[in-house]
Amino acid sequence: MTDATGPIVAADGRPLKASLSRALRREKLRAFLLILPLLAFVVISFIAPIFDMLFRSVQDDITSRTLPQTVVALNDWDYTGDARPSEQTYEALYFDMFMAAEAKKHTALGSRLNYETTGISSLFRQTGRGLDDVGEDVIEAMEDASAALDDSAFWAGLFLTDDRSAGDKAASARAWASTVSDQALSLPADVYLANAAEAALPNAARQYAAFAMFTHTVDEDVPAEEDPWEAVWIALAQDLTAGELAYDGPEAAELRAVQAAVAGPMADFTFTDAFLAQDDDWGEASVWGTIQTFSSPYTAGYFLTAIDLELTPDGAQAVEDDVAIYITLFWRTLWMSMTITFSCILLGYPIAWLMANLPDRSANLIMILVLLPFWTSLLVRTSAWKVLLQQQGVINDTLVWIGLVGDGSRLALINNATGTIIAMTHILLPFMILPLYSVMKGIPPSYLRAAKSLGATNWTAFWRVYFPQSVPGIGAGSILVFILSIGYYITPEIVGGTKGVFISNRIAYHISSSLNWGLAAALGTILLVVVLALYWAYDRIVGIDNVKLGG
């Protein structure tokens, strides 16, 4: 007997409780270390990719990455007003788009925005092709004024220097060009942006720096030997017409000659007109509204689309009835999965009962018959159903031969919801039978005999004594079958026709055909959440402890 006030101590004098928990902790740690490799494997190869995929449903930074200056310039624009975006916005669009087109990023953005507004895909593709022609008159006037401009050495002499004291004047150009091209761009070693040119010709210096970095990093050419992009010429023309030229560095004389010549053409040039000449759609509020709406790095747009809404500049709105499909598909997926689960219970329960109660020899035979289709390829089984169920198929032929249906009114058993339910019930049946069987195997037959000896009828003995004990098997089988069928894809695709396809078929379409991975991720996330919610509801109603996968 220890002191009533003090804690119980172990042999080494420590409190027993602490000593015990230390021993337990060590045990737990050892157990944890044992499962660590498996845990790491699951996290790296399963959980992380799933979360990465699900994250795409809200991630949408392609607009802000590809057109960073445009998005900023567009901030002040009011979609509801009649006014077009400002000239500064078109100017920003020109330079963003030029850089993006060089890096071949503009068409990817076009495809992305085309999900929201039809026509943007070709608008971006064609504009990307026509950008070289923007400001042709200006560029021609510059060429006429000084032949030196056609020499790549002129530009390199003007903007580049090996004078280390020039410092990193190209930092902002680098940040911008790297974002748009999605690569880490840099100038060649020991080449800097010249101070004097940068101060007097800020636009041109920025564009030339972007050109030089891209040429060096991506094309792996020497910038000084390459002719600069048209965007650099236009930027130079802008700088030369901005005011008095305070510059007396290299090539100053040439610049003054160009300055005199470019004033006329530049007076007639606006970026707005240049874009409208490329395509009228650049004046459409719907195009600019789409760019503005999807300019933030995160979007609710995919989730809204996944529930038949759409994100417009005016907020979320219901889509028109003739394109609404996802809610219908979610409902169809749910009710058909429930029907399939229920048919599996109906068909599987008697078989499992037979297997549990027959002598081992016969039970094993049935077990093999249950497992045999399980080992056969899914595609083979599904295609076999096609042969059986089609209008000229085995079942219809037999029915016509017996005389149950007329030759002209053969049953439509496939390419509809019926086909999907029949084929999937067959395919998922083993997942119902196996847990049922293992639970039934654990129910002692003496219970039934006892019930009968106490006067119960066969039905009462089954319903009051046997069935309640088999419920955990039904629960386990139902969860397996339901969750498997809700995400099924191949079988509905082959036998489902139009009325028997699931939401997973749309997910597959958006992954592999339309490449709208954001929408696919949103649909997948919703499906996952629905399954988790149903699982939670099941736990509350039936209790997950009542589920047994084995006796």
């Binding site: 990817a108 070709s122 593709r125 499909i325 490449l515």
Partner: protein, 368 residues
Amino acid sequence: MKKSIILGTSAIVAVAGIAYADGHMASDMTLVSWGGAYQASQQNAYVAPYIANNEGVTAVWDESSSEAVAKLRAMNEAGNVTWDVVDVVAADAIRLCDEGLALEIDHDEMLADGDDGSSASDDFGDLIVSDCFIPQIVYSTTFGYRDDLVGDTPPTSVCDVYDLEAYPGMRSLERNPIANLEWALICDGVDIADVYDVLETEEGQDRAFAKMDTIKDNVIWWSAGADTPQLLADGEIVMGSTYNGRLFSLIEEQDQPVSMLWDWQMFDLDGWIIPAGLSPEREARALDFVRFATDTQRLADQAKYISYGPARQSSAPLVSTHETLGIEMAPHMPTDPANSVNTFLFNYEWWADYRDDLDAKFQAWLAQ
């Protein structure tokens, strides 16, 4: 003595030079195609000869063309592109080019001139629908019908598909708006030149769907090219659309009672792309292979095995007989004058814009 040393040295240098050049090309290629008879025709017509000409080179097939765009995008994101040459339809080539996933091709520079001396870009002509696309074949989506189920007056027009009185029974159409909407409008009296202008409008789309409503209950929608031949062979359908090569093998190789209905066949293109971002050695090998595989003779050879038209104009005169059946292949080509009275070309640019929108409408229409 001195001379022979010089000769010897230059021989060594020359040999070393060849070895050096060879060392700059990878020796393994992964080719991606569609499997089945089409891939076999590629294997016979140019992969086997290429490997015979280039000792030590091996080619492995991956039958993933139907998912090529999605898989290439995933490979590109993971930074590990394992494919070297990929066979895709033109629409996918445009998409891959748009996404920056395919190498831009200078056709005149990188491909062989035609046997008739024309440059590659002249020889392929309009079929170069994307800067990344190396055309290979012209195929068409068209109709086949069961001889024994159409009565005494076999169908002659694509609009007979819409004639349930003359040709009762089921039809099969692709579960995809492309081609179906065009046919619906043509059969609703729209001139072919105006089809896409009409389809751009809300009313035009409604009109096409209304036309398809008239046969909606009698259509089995297919998604795999093998479906329609199977359905025709089983007698499930009276007529159905599929790729013309599938119908050729059903009729000529499997001897089924089926005939071709070439009216308003929709031309489409299939060809190679080379993934962007390959190492220089692999890219050099891929380009070397493609240069060989798309020359005039090789494209003409492919027509010995499958009834798809070679994409080069210069190949057409060289098309001969089927390798095993021995029949003349020219009359089975979609481009044969007798077959191409009424045709239209898949409008790639237009569908690139409208596909997302019209597919949503089409799927919603199917689900109604």
